[in-house]
Symmetry: C3
Subunit: 337 residues, 3 copies
């Protein structure tokens, strides 16, 4: 006794329904990942809920999360849950912009995003090295409960702001509110607010965006631009971090290595049903303690996709990155339902 969901919104609009709706969509993928030594099967199936409504005065509101984003567990309590504000998001939108709360992306990530992803696993087969390591948001500050993201667009200009609330939350998780525990086992209520502002200018064929973020002592400046010319598009991202420690001295706890810079470029070419994509990216780290040197890590990726229509895409990618010992590749199909 299967229930079939209607796939058109025309019918819905014409029949005068109440405005509040739950839309159900899905995605899937199946194929083979070459991990440098072996070929491994990799597949998944997911379902997403998209909640939308409108108030009497015309304010839009909604929320969204996937079934697999609802994975709460008492132990460890770090797992994310849409019902607890640390996965998915809810939002409200009107003349004055859109405000989202939950596991939102940061202002800079919303404005600039990542390099183009390759392969049927959208880069996951190589550890998602096309993704920029944004300092705040998108899973970075969930120990503070939900984050917020504000978006406002006026003609060609968009403004974005995001923040965490500066309070730890490992208490009554059902509200996303409570206390954290410090290194000595004491309850601590207060953390540093992670915040981020970004601006973007969009013209017909290109956009440029700039963002600034801070969390504790660390800060991030991100610059991004993308252009589309005929069937060709190119995107570049530059991120400069300050005081962003990633390796620490075991004894003193002092920072030993800082994440200093990321810059990368990606390009894509669309030819009928075929899409060719590639990216290059370099991460630079800085040794700030004795015996720790500066270092840099390069990652290259190329991929091709063939649109089979109806929501199915045949795709493959190859990535060579200093983060993995081997060149890795994937090949498979991805689906949208």
């Amino acid at each position: 006794m299967k229930k079939v969901l209607f796939a058109t919104s025309a019918l819905v609009l014409s029949a005068g329904f109440a405005s509040a709706e739950v839309a159900v969509s899905g995605d899937g993928r199946m194929g083979v990942i070459y991990d440098g030594n072996d070929a491994q099967f990799s597949s998944r199936a997911r379902v997403r809920f998209n909640l939308t409504g409108e108030s009497d005065a015309g304010l839009s509101f909604g929320g969204e999360f996937r079934v697999d984003q609802e994975n709460y567990s008492d132990y460890p309590d770090s797992l994310r849950s849409a019902a607890r504000g640390t996965a998915g998001a809810v939002w409200i939108s009107g003349t004055y912009g859109k405000l989202s709360m939950g596991d939102t992306v940061s202002a800079s990530e919303n404005a600039i995003g990542d390099l183009y992803e390759v392969g049927y696993t959208d880069g996951t087969f190589a550890g998602d090295v096309e993704e920029i390591s944004y300092l705040t948001g998108d899973g970075e500050n969930t120990d503070q409960g939900p984050n917020i993201l504000y978006e406002y667009t006026f003609e060609n200009f968009s403004f974005f702001a995001s923040a965490s609330d500066g309070s730890n939350t490992s208490g009554p998780a059902v509200t996303g509110v409570g206390f954290g525990i410090d290194d000595e086992g004491n309850q601590v209520d207060t953390a540093s607010t992670a915040w981020n502002v970004a601006g973007k200018y969009e013209a017909e064929n290109f956009w440029v965006a700039l963002g600034y973020a801070e969390h504790d002592d660390a800060s991030e400046i991100t610059l991004g631009a993308e252009g589309n010319f005929n069937n060709f598009s190119v995107k570049g991202i530059y991120a400069d971090y300050s005081d962003r420690g990633i390796v620490f001295d075991d004894v003193t706890g002092d920072t030993a290595v800082e994440f200093d810079k990321t810059y990368g470029l990606s390009a894509a070419y669309q030819m009928d049903a075929i899409l060719l994509e590639g990216f290059w990216r370099r991460d630079e780290t800085k040794g700030v303690a004795d015996g720790f040197d500066d270092d840099s890590f390069d990652s290259f990726g190329i991929g091709a996709e063939y649109d089979l229509g109806g929501g199915a895409v045949l795709a493959g990618g190859i990535v060579d990155t200093d983060y993995l010992d081997d060149t890795v590749a994937d090949l498979g199909v991805k689906f949208k339902f």
Copy 2:
């Protein structure tokens, strides 16, 4: 490729569908909780499945659970799961009443319920102090697997009965059946049945209800009443517990403090789109061992809601309770989809 679910049942009824259906609805909320020291973001998005069917002879049946109620984990095995009978519920209903099984509320809670909840988090921001601490059901006896609830209404009178099965269940969790483990690590199959009966009389403007529950040595008598006059409604609840130990002597294991009584009153006033609500509640505990005194805990709450239409409500609440050091408050919007 989003699927939009239809929000009207008229269309469904007119088109002669099979009777078995899965309805998908959702809710969400976003806002700020003041925990006495800091303002913290708190948001959530949830989706609920409502399963309904009808047999050839006109017997109704169904079930319901939310995505976030399906959170099974091998470790700890205490997590609740609709697929294992310890969250959500299934039911069957006919001329002779309705029988539900799963994580059902108790007979008394079904008849009487709780005090009015305030705030956009429906009282959660203050630890849900408007909720009566019923002795059985609604998450209290899930170590015995599913509970049952029977409801029967004849004219103005309703009768309710609920029970656990008196057997522990930490065995093959997929059926909700198995063995529990006692303090010495032995498998024990038998627990005390937690049971509850309640009666309710409903007139046009008011109802009164009385319930009695037992679990092990503990028992509970609950009395509740609610009246509606013009735009004003008021509800009172009195609960008297016997032998309900809540603090125990570390050495002897004897009861040190018993939960003795709860009584409270709540009131609401509806004025067009505005709803004003408030409650007061007192819990009394009894010291039954040397060095443990009687005590009482007061909780007050007030709140206001403004219906924005379309399923959105702006709401805020303030609660002052002896269970928390500080006065706490919340303010935000809640949504129904």
Copy 3:
């Protein structure tokens, strides 16, 4: 604001929708299990997603999983998840057969299946002793990530093949790809491929099937047949295992007991709305170390079902098995939505 899903596909087909769809269906059950000593309540409610699409060239694709199959947890990382390929499945199907990936059944299980299940819990009340213990697939090799299953039918003949990928996966679980950990704590990438081929011949009133599987040193030959005559159907299964160790010497690690053979027979009789079912099954084990003898385990089950219509079935079963000390039984209703 409930959303009602349409229960007919006629409307969907006539209105010319896009091909990609998400169908939502559900099931539930409630009743009482007699565990040999006590009667215990057992209930559940579940929701299933069925994803389907079609490419421009007529290739079908899809996926399916239940809400309760999405139960990922970092700890333990053994929990299964449709979003990580170790629960549910995705598939693609065309002229050349159907290829599934995920937590698929093995070729032999797909061809032959299990004995008839009895009771409203479909055999779960007795530990599912009607299920054949197939060597590969269906939850057996999830430590290697997703499995694959290939099915091809030509006239009355069907061919099935299934396999795991021969690589362990407790690494980056999001892709189902990574490294396992051996007994000494070292990362190991390579396991033994578990593979299985099977063939089946289907005539109007009966089918016969034969399968062969291998994993490490263990192998399995399975033979099954089923016939339907008027209202009567009968099914027999014979499985012969080689080198399938199930008990091991604590000191040397050598195999002490092997699972040697399973054979069983089940029969069913349908009379209007009533279905009568029964099965018998014997498992034989072989002692291969000093002090371990050969043994055999018999299991019997009988059951009856009464179809109430509309998706509801009243059912009960009794099972007597050497695996449990007591005769166990269940009685209840099961629902499809």
